[in-house]
């Protein structure tokens, strides 16, 4: 299981194969687009009755990443909950689980488009977080540099020996990182499609998640 180290605006970062981003010098772990409570939201709106275990599955993986890195600060880069009510309707044991993960570390929720309002759970809530030389926000504002954002759920689609393979991926160029969606049941947007294909520079890389963090030139 290997990570992919790179630098953005001089900051040394590591893309983890799970889809999280690790900043070892500041002990910061970043994840994006958790979409907790998606099954509950779909059921509430009369949509398909998905197995209601995605929150548990996501928190399981998040806990593993937190433990492995021993992160001191956690940044959740927006769309952490599928909508406002998802957060309230989260079962108590899952709320407690989050509280347990928050204990002893700094926890920052960046507000996204699905969950714009202030949240019940602990931690600080910000619309964006500048930590020079980097800035963290949910959706890119297209003209910043040193920016880490999410929102698009990027996916890389490859054809490998006649088989199609699609994996969530980080998109990286010298200006920005677009994070993969970390949550279970989150879909994705192919990197070859706009706006991702036009947003990223021609020399952008896609880092595939999975067993190892694997870099490839971003598929267009």
């Amino acid at each position: 299981m290997t990570t992919y180290p790179f630098s953005l605006s001089g900051a040394r970062l590591e893309a983890l194969p799970s889809g999280g981003l690790w900043w070892p010098d500041r002990r910061i772990l970043v994840v994006s687009d958790l979409h907790l409570g998606k099954a509950e939201r779909h059921a509430r709106r009369g949509g398909p009755m998905l197995p209601p275990y995605e929150t548990r599955d996501t928190l399981f993986r998040l806990e593993a990443d937190i433990t492995r890195t021993n992160a001191q600060t956690m940044i959740c880069l927006g769309d952490s909950f599928d909508d406002n009510m998802s957060e309230q309707n989260l079962p108590d044991d899952e709320k407690l689980w989050i509280a347990r993960l928050q204990a002893g570390r700094k926890w920052i929720w960046i507000t996204g488009n699905h969950d714009p309002g202030p949240l019940e759970l602990g931690g600080s809530h910000l619309s964006e977080l500048p930590l020079p030389p980097l800035v963290f926000r949910h959706e890119t504002n297209t003209h910043s540099s040193g920016e880490i954002s999410g929102h698009f759920h990027p996916k890389a689609q490859l054809s490998v020996q006649g088989r199609g393979v699609s994996r969530p991926c980080f998109l990286i160029d010298m200006n920005r990182v677009i994070m993969p969606a970390y949550g279970t049941f989150t879909g994705g947007l192919g990197s070859h499609l706009p706006p991702l294909s036009t947003l990223m520079r021609p020399d952008a890389l896609a880092i595939l998640t999975g067993k190892s963090a694997r870099p490839i030139p971003m598929p267009r």
Partner: protein, 335 residues
């Protein structure tokens, strides 16, 4: 309500032209469309067309005037060959009962005999050969399609455990063809009867055929929409991968009703485990292994057979590793 639905075989639309607004010519089965490569021609709606591309559930074609188009097959449901017919064929090989068949068939049998050997009732013919960067293993069990499919699952599971990285398999009435990354030098090791039997329950829950059974069960239950991919998505619709739903239920709620139904469905298609047992009893430890420099006449039809089951395991990870490294280096990038 979808309850009690018999699912129609998946068909895809055929359109003449460059985009989905092209003139519709008709429909073909998805399994036939899957065999087409750009440039292949086939007959539909009274004309010969060339396959250009397939997007979502539409096949785009252009007019072509070739002499030998493929003929679209509409397979519907397939039933497995009977044990008696399989027996007769195997006996026929031994007694050379096929002398009356047309020249090209006899030639095919002769070629098989000289390159490899003809299968017989007393032993199990297993061929291995390289083909296009992968290593192939073909087991001529003559046990009927359902049993050969089950055998494919059992063997690939064993291969995965032994670390030989199987990539996929396909089964017909008379053989199972497995392809993978590693060469198998001693296939006899794969046929250890107790090892095969022990693994039955465990792998059933994680394999690709179970996931296929779950997909149709989940569609009938209304959990996922069929054909959603072919329609324009409205703002609020979302399609979910049945594989992810299956994995989630397997981890957190394996006794869920849908899982039990899917297992029953998968098992009813795999009920011919009895025929595999019978085959293994019949051959005992008489495994006839032939390692060949290329595909044999008997194995060749399986290379074209539809219904490939892809294995998600170490194989695809290894290939991804190699492929991503190659892409990276090809772009002239440094680590």
């Amino acid at each position: 309500m979808n309850a009690g639905t018999i699912q129609d075989t998946d068909t895809v639309k055929v359109r003449l032209g460059k985009n989905r607004a092209g003139k519709p010519l008709g429909e073909i089965e998805e399994s036939f469309a899957a065999t087409l490569a750009p440039g292949d021609t086939f007959l539909i709606g009274g004309q010969i067309v060339r396959f250009e591309s397939m997007r979502e559930l539409t096949v785009m074609v252009s007019r072509a005037a070739t002499k030998k188009p493929k003929i679209a097959t509409f397979m519907g449901t397939k039933f497995a060959t009977s044990t008696q017919l399989c027996d007769r064929i195997l006996t026929g090989f031994e007694t050379d009962a096929f002398a009356d068949l047309p020249d090209y068939t006899r030639h095919w049998l002769d070629q098989q005999r000289s390159l490899s050997r003809l299968p017989d009732r007393e032993s199990l013919l297993v061929e291995t050969f390289p083909h296009k960067d992968q290593n192939y293993l073909c087991v001529f069990g003559f046990a009927g399609r359902n049993a050969q499919q089950t055998l494919g699952l059992l063997l690939t599971n064993r291969m995965e455990t032994l670390g030989t990285a199987p990539m996929g398999f396909v089964a017909t009435d008379y053989a199972t063809l497995i392809w993978g990354l590693d060469k198998i030098d001693t296939p006899e090791d794969l046929f250890d009867k107790s090892a095969l039997q022990n693994g039955f329950e465990t792998w059933l829950s994680s394999n690709a055929v179970m996931k296929q059974a779950f997909r149709s069960v989940a569609t009938i239950a209304g959990l996922i929409e069929r054909n959603l991919l072919g329609l324009r998505k409205s703002g609020r619709q979302a399609s979910f991968s049945s594989d992810i739903l299956y994995d989630t239920l397997r981890k957190y709620d394996p006794d869920h009703l849908l899982m039990r139904i899917a297992q029953t469905e998968a098992l009813s298609g795999l009920v011919d485990y009895g025929r595999i047992n019978a085959m293994l009893e019949r051959v005992g430890d008489r495994i006839e292994h032939r390692h060949l420099p290329h595909v044999s006449p008997f194995a060749a039809p399986l290379l074209l057979e539809v219904g490939r089951i892809h294995i998600q395991g170490e194989g695809i990870e290894r290939i991804l590793d190699a492929e991503t490294k190659a892409l990276f280096q090809a772009a002239g990038l440094k680590e």
